[in-house]
Point group: C2
Chain length 218, copies 2
């Protein structure tokens, strides 16, 4: 069966020691850490490591230094929870932002996505997640009460909830609505445009803008 | 036209200063450097930076240290051109490898791909590219003569050319064939399986194995 045999799976080639790591333990460790980054799998992590290794002085060391520097410089904004090298962050410190308008998001990635879309001229509040009965996340595990404290300080006209359209996002919105409404502050949620079950962080700018403009009172 | 207007492009929202960078100059620089890695675009670089920034001590600093350590430790093998923290590299130093069989590749990525596929039990020789009339790459820009020197030292029974199926790969194979044949050493090239215009580095293990087994004398 020459035809079939040409397509048959070849017998395994006997090799001295089978598969092994490339480049020594330092390279192995670098590839393993790179492969944990979102967007990089084991194969692209190897390609990235190889690109960096080919030019250690001009590619690898600058990236390593940028990482160490960012880890040293960046902190959490004590007002809104954003990550920035300044505290308060550049958004909270900007006098041109409308301080009466607060968009509430789950994470810093959501805040960055809204800023990139340039669809909000007010401030933000990062909760650090959503309430989750299954995940055991209660109100004290998130920055919910600091948000209420910001509102009680006065000057806030409207709170816009930009949370994911998930069960936990809805539960968090409900918890906040119950407590913010009695304070006499308008509260709304972002409108149609956020896909059910989706994360804000990965949406395109147009959808993010539509969701913000299409917000509805709750 | 309420229906149409609901789908019309919205007017641009007036904003104090338009788009700006997130997280300060340190984060901006980190994202810019990450976005240059193969497999990461601007968006996934931001997500990667954010993941690292959320856990600077456990994620960012270990990766920065691994990069600095790899840049310090890794060098080019003086025998075959592989990148490794040892010189000679682990492959050249392995007494179980067949020293009479040399696979010639363009780059270290090709060598690593063949090793991962575990289809070769001999040694390697990394040329560092291919001859290119258009690109101005001549014989002295590659490690072609060191390969001839390795052969002249004796002990080599066969040289297998595992170069890309490109015009430049073929020109390089021709240059080597003309010089290796007179030395009385068998010379072959990897067989069918390498897609025309494709790079070895990204091939699957089965195709790499088939190409190596299906090599033909030149």
């Amino acid at each position: 069966m020459p035809y079939l045999s040409a397509y048959a799976s070849p017998p395994p080639t006997p090799l001295p020691q089978g598969r092994k790591s490339m480049g020594g333990p330092e390279v192995e460790r670098l590839i393993a850490l790179l492969a944990r980054l979102p967007g990089l799998g084991p194969r692209s992590a190897r390609r990235a490591a190889l690109k960096l290794l080919r030019e250690p002085e001009t590619k690898m060391l600058p990236l390593a230094a940028a990482m160490a520097e960012a880890a040293r410089a960046v902190r959490t904004c004590s007002l809104c929870g954003n990550l920035d090298s300044a505290d308060p962050c550049a958004i909270c410190a900007d006098p041109r932002r409308d301080r009466s308008l607060i968009v509430v998001v789950e994470g810093v990635g959501d805040l960055w996505a809204l800023e990139r879309a340039a669809v909000h001229r007010g401030l933000y509040h990062v909760l650090g997640g959503t309430l989750s009965a299954l995940g055991g996340v209660g109100p004290d595990d998130l920055l919910l009460k600091p948000l209420l404290a910001r509102i009680l300080e006065g000057g806030v006209a409207e709170v816009i909830l930009a949370l994911g359209a998930t069960v936990d996002g809805a539960a968090t919105a409900h918890w906040l609505t119950e407590r913010i409404k009695p304070l006499g502050v308008a509260i709304s949620r972002v409108g149609h445009g956020v896909p059910i079950g989706g994360a804000l962080e990965v949406l395109d700018d147009g959808t993010l803008g539509a969701a913000l403009r299409g917000r509805r009172p709750v």
